[in-house]
Symmetry: C2
Amino acid sequence: MNWKLAARAAKMNPSVLREILKVTERPGIISLAGGLPSPKTFPIQAFADACAEVLHNDGQAALQYAASEGYAPLRQAVADMLPWNVDPAQVLITTGSQQGLDLVAKVLIDPGSKVLVETPTYLGALQAFGPMEPNPVSVASDDEGVIVEDLVAKAKDGRFIYLLPNFQNPTGRTMTEARRAAVSVAAAAAGLPIVEDNPYGELWFDEAPPLPLTARNPEGCIYLGSFSKVLAPGLRLGFLVAPKAIFPKLLQAKQAVDLHTPIFTQRMVSAVMKDNFLERHVPTIRALYKRQRDAMMAALTREMAGLDVKFNAPKGGMFLWARLPEGIDTVALLPKAVERNVAFVPGAPFYADQGDPRTLRLSFVTASVEEIDTAISALALTLREELALLGERRLAPEPV
Amino acid sequence: MNWKLAARAAKMNPSVLREILKVTERPGIISLAGGLPSPKTFPIQAFADACAEVLHNDGQAALQYAASEGYAPLRQAVADMLPWNVDPAQVLITTGSQQGLDLVAKVLIDPGSKVLVETPTYLGALQAFGPMEPNPVSVASDDEGVIVEDLVAKAKDGRFIYLLPNFQNPTGRTMTEARRAAVSVAAAAAGLPIVEDNPYGELWFDEAPPLPLTARNPEGCIYLGSFSKVLAPGLRLGFLVAPKAIFPKLLQAKQAVDLHTPIFTQRMVSAVMKDNFLERHVPTIRALYKRQRDAMMAALTREMAGLDVKFNAPKGGMFLWARLPEGIDTVALLPKAVERNVAFVPGAPFYADQGDPRTLRLSFVTASVEEIDTAISALALTLREELALLGERRLAPEPV
């Protein structure tokens, strides 16, 4: 049978993360790899009450086809939740914020279109954009986010820049107020739209992050948000906010893709969110994740002492970013770590261009404090062994 | 701000159906337009029990991220349900079967690719394929489905043919056993893959339809199915079955689009389907829809007497197809019908090429028997008035 694939299909590859996650499902492995929220934070009873309520009060409507834009009260709740003036008519409910990336790609990317991204950037975004065959261009980035001068130098003919300013995946870094102000002005001056992804913004530890980029220039930005990290990812509920100039196209793309996001889960979440539930619930997630970040940083400081391992101090979110000593390749290190029952994600796949082989991403949210201690200790042991091997190889006589 | 749209976005248009459905939401309108299953058939109590059970037994797993392929027991249930030998590893759970169409388009359609479709065909498929910029080619069709000679004549270089053999949307027609056998052989001989869409197959009235095309040549077909018509559409749960040759690409596309279909609703449906629930539930849907089809045919026979209106006798599904007398354009007729509080869908948008302006689609499943009687009576009155106007225009002197 003559199955001829589209050219774009040849460029689709199995997710590196996905293949890694398969390994980490082995019993006994402590995984610091996946970006899985702690299931302890899922408000199961609140969902059970919401299901019963929705099916009792509005069962038929909750199970029928519904509007592509999303459930009106949920669109209103999203608009109310955001820290700038949002018209609910600009809110599109999506099947997870990943779908928002797919819709953005369909509507804004032609084959070869320049799309600017951070260094490194969210792998899932690269995968969502990929089938529309963009030319992703890495903008140099430091601990505060993308570097404005490089953004300006690369902005010409860019379709948009994709930014994740809060507790970024994979680095955990946060764009400072000063950097946001500068990026916002520079992008507007260059006529470069911003696609702002903010799945982790509510997960701050000591203080809320600065205002979103979209709040500073709503007509120049598409904003993506998610309920995955504040309620539960298994419902696949996210949203986007888009200016009137392109909202209708995103809506048409959405309609063609899946008609609408499941209305039952939209109504569930709408019911759960009543009476300011998130205001009581999210602080419990912040407190848990902060304790676990503290535990991971303490363990790294203790276990990696003397090993020339650099790591950052995320102010929120789920991830910490580390850089191992010269000569280490984290892709090669991973199977050795897995032998010691700990898993992480190598950093290189998160780069749109040449990845830094010494980097890795560690999630501090899924494992418990005790598991984090055990895992970082095992990781340090693996690293010490690898460094010893490297040292032996360096001392060995060169082959003639 | 420089929002430059992708070329494909310019080709996206608001769904004609969608705009029509908006009008029909006006209170007092009896809509025979939308393809909405009767909400009376939604098993609300079974869903309520399933939600409680899933959240009680597996709450954390039901709310966490999950595998892109879908929930294993649901994939197994789908495989078990289908009338040919299906490996669950070939089943991909989708966010409604509409998403299956989007994934197929991404993986199989290049700009300009020839895609064969029926005359007329499902509008939602044209919309799902559209962003990948195919060249859709209408294969001549009669009451039994596509005409084999025309299929063969047009098969060369076709990426696939999209077919909806059971109780087709929009025509309600069913492909006969003889036609299926001939189409299957002809497509295989031409090396032309088949994308078979079967959302309505379980909704048969007197006897089950012949075997799916996919059952006759699984390696040459992608099969799309749905829980929307046998349980409820608001959950957006569908599936596809694909040969091993292309399953991995469809899975990669799925992963990039929304990571996975909501696992909570997958587990809900899996719980509902236990103990052969569908075997008890689906016959009640069939009986209801058959009564309503009978009512619609009786009303049409009675009310349209003497008006040269042709309509078919669907053997299942949700839709009946009608053709009005010479000179009538159903797009122009619709607002006049809406004035008389009845809505239908004009047939022309369902054609990939030139539509037949005299055709229309009537749904017999959403409205009650009494509403169907009232609506068909109002539609006949609208048509009589329109014919009278046409007659007057014909008798009026030509403008000089």
